[in-house]
Symmetry: C2
Subunit: 138 residues, 2 copies
Amino acid sequence: MSAHATTPPASLWDTICFDAAGLIPAIAQQHDTGEVLMLAWMNREAVAETLATGRVCYFSRSRGRLWRKGESSGQTQHLVELRLDCDGDTLLVLVHQQGVACHTGRRNCFFRAVRGGELKEIAAPAVDPASLYEGRNG
Amino acid sequence: MSAHATTPPASLWDTICFDAAGLIPAIAQQHDTGEVLMLAWMNREAVAETLATGRVCYFSRSRGRLWRKGESSGQTQHLVELRLDCDGDTLLVLVHQQGVACHTGRRNCFFRAVRGGELKEIAAPAVDPASLYEGRNG
């Protein structure tokens, strides 16, 4: 069987802990380079869809609905492996990121660092963010 | 100046977003290997102490107090760089992990993976977890 089980494993559902809002934080990491791309949130339905389809789906807290990563930008994430931490309350999602993960056009969202006592930008956009959303629904 | 500023940079405090509970999720990543070690939470005081001392300090939600990583286990984390994401609501903390990050004795907390439709343990403890807390205060 592939990592993309069509039926979510019962042991995952017995172990995973959603918070009071029904959400769990999910760290997306590029599977081969180890780059931490972003952190987003999943609800039960997003976890199930991600496992069923192999395409990473989050729950957008701002939009209050499922968010299939890349649905607007085309910058999809393909599931390589879903991992759960010792407390069952955080997911590590190993992915292959198509293009850039960040809505600013950068490869990952962690492009600001405290250096020399100040918050500095340490990465420039790889693509023009405007180009990610042209002709799409935001 | 080193990355361990004694005075927290104003621009960080202007940009960082704590949640309604005054917390922000912090992903700890081993700086040189890219291994994602754990996710924990920081409040403003934990962020300030981490930057001031160079030793990573979280806020324990279960204990309701600051948690200087390794204070019980000896498995401390030393700050290499603190990064902030695009929305300002997640930290990526590049660290050097002394020993193991997980209270189960494993190097990192993400030792369970969905494989073949089941949740499987994919890493064994590197050290006996009982040995981490012997003669210490839990």
